[in-house]
Amino acid sequence: MDMISIPVVNMTPILPEIFLSVLAMVLLLLNVFSPSGKKSYLAYISFIGIAATAVLVGAGWGGHIESFSGAVILDNFATFFKMIFLLAAGLTVLISDQYMEREECNHGELYPLILFTVVGMMLMASGTDLMTIFLGLEVMSVSLYVLAGFNRNNKKSNEAGLKYFLLGAFSTGFLLYGMALTYGATGTTRVYKIASVVGQMTLPSANIMLLAGMLLMMTGFAFKIAAAPFHMWTPDVYEGAPTPMTAFMSAGPKAAGFAALLRILLVALPTLQIEWSQLLWVLAVLTMTVGNITALRQDNIKRMLAYSSIAHAGYALVGLVAGNGTGTAGILFYMLSYAFMNIGAFAIIILVSKKGETNGNVMDFAGLGFKRPLLAVAMTIFLFSLAGMPPTAGFIGKFYLFSGAVQKGYIWLAVIGVLNSAASVYYYLRVMVYMYMKEPTEEFEWTQVTAPVALALIISVAGSMIPGIVPSFILEFAQQAVKLI
């Protein structure tokens, strides 16, 4: 009998994914076998596991290994993004325990779900086959649907979970259809092969099936990164989801969406750059403008940050429109610094809000500046970083992205972006106005800052400031990471 020859599979590229999956399963079992009660130890184990994975991922820096016959790759691009995901997950785990305890929904499943989300995101970043990317996206999304609705006793959280699920499934349909059409047009799902097939077409921009495939895939990812006009789910989901999960969703999956979008557009479809950059131009302008203008009118701070996160996706899209080294490296840098500053800001929101997600309005920050000066200073740094003021990471990120756009001649896009970020300053300032210039309306007890939350805040502050003052080393990494694509 002739044996089926088993191809030699190099497991190295997916070692971190395997490690995290095993860890997640172990945690799942630990959770059911341990007596009910405190779940903090699960958070600690997850954090250590995430840190260990980060070491594992970091060790792969500089490598370039294709595996699973070109379905998965280990390269600097993937490594950089994996680091962002791990960072987002690590910070989220740190700020989750206290919050979940307070909201009385501290179920142990939280941590395995976060880890599974990370696994999905990692697959998206390292996938070089449309199917792998889709698989990663689904693993990520399914876990996120649950995380968004994790607070079962809260109606808004339920709503968030359901809305996210419905629209997520809807967008997945677009994405998958797009992938199918692309496969139909090129006969392969491997991104590198798509590139060579499309490269050999005589007139790829006239191939309707390919164009439709690209368009549908872009639509699918636009949902995931919350780009206007596919952003409608974002405010409701971000507002309703448990705050640590909102923080996570705004940093991790958004970055993952960009990772996959970058990989598909820049590696598989560079020949169609003129077409997709025109589309993205419109998308970027809409996203920035809609996000910022709507954020101006928000009183609920989670909702405000949701719109702000839409706007930030718009800034990142500016880098993608440029599509050059500077622009794409800018996206990587921006996503990294955005993870720091946004999760930091949400950590402060957790500390200011009270049980049942009350006290979530901008007004509730009144007087924070002098009651809890350190928290207020941290929040100020996050907000200035989000607003893109020097010398913060947010400034360098925007500087990078807009430089990329100007370099490619997209001057008006850069002007629109800059005007948008001027407008955005208003709503960030508003929070600071309440923190420093208004008296608190009512006396209430402030939440204690536990050690993990403090650690998360310290990491976030450092991550929002240091890359703004000495950005060189991170910029080097980002530039290295995009060199290969």
């Binding site: 009998m1 002739d2 044996m3 089926i4 088993i6 399963m25 799942l28 079992l29 059911v32 076998f33």
Partner: protein, 118 residues
Amino acid sequence: MLGAYLPILLLVIVAVGFGLCSLVFSSLIGPKKISALKLSPYESGCEPVGTARERFSIKFYLIAMLFILFDIEAVFLYPWAILYKKLGVFGLVEMGLFIVILFVGYIYVWKKGALEWE
């Protein structure tokens, strides 16, 4: 080339014929004791007529979901079983891992109490 589809045609004829025959002969030969319950269009314990917004116990959904999960996984065993010898040790190990992961899920579900009806 249509000849290649002949077996399928035969299969369709036999299947439809068998179905028709059973219906016809049972209505002709079988004894009939008609009651209201028997004539109702659906008889699995649910009221056939009434509000469509009736609530089912969540347990049904849970069981249905678990059934689908583990049932679908079993589908993967068939192709593996067919190619078992050709795949050799590699296949055995892979399927072992698969089953272990499935088993973790099973234990989780069990310990969570999802298998208990009451």
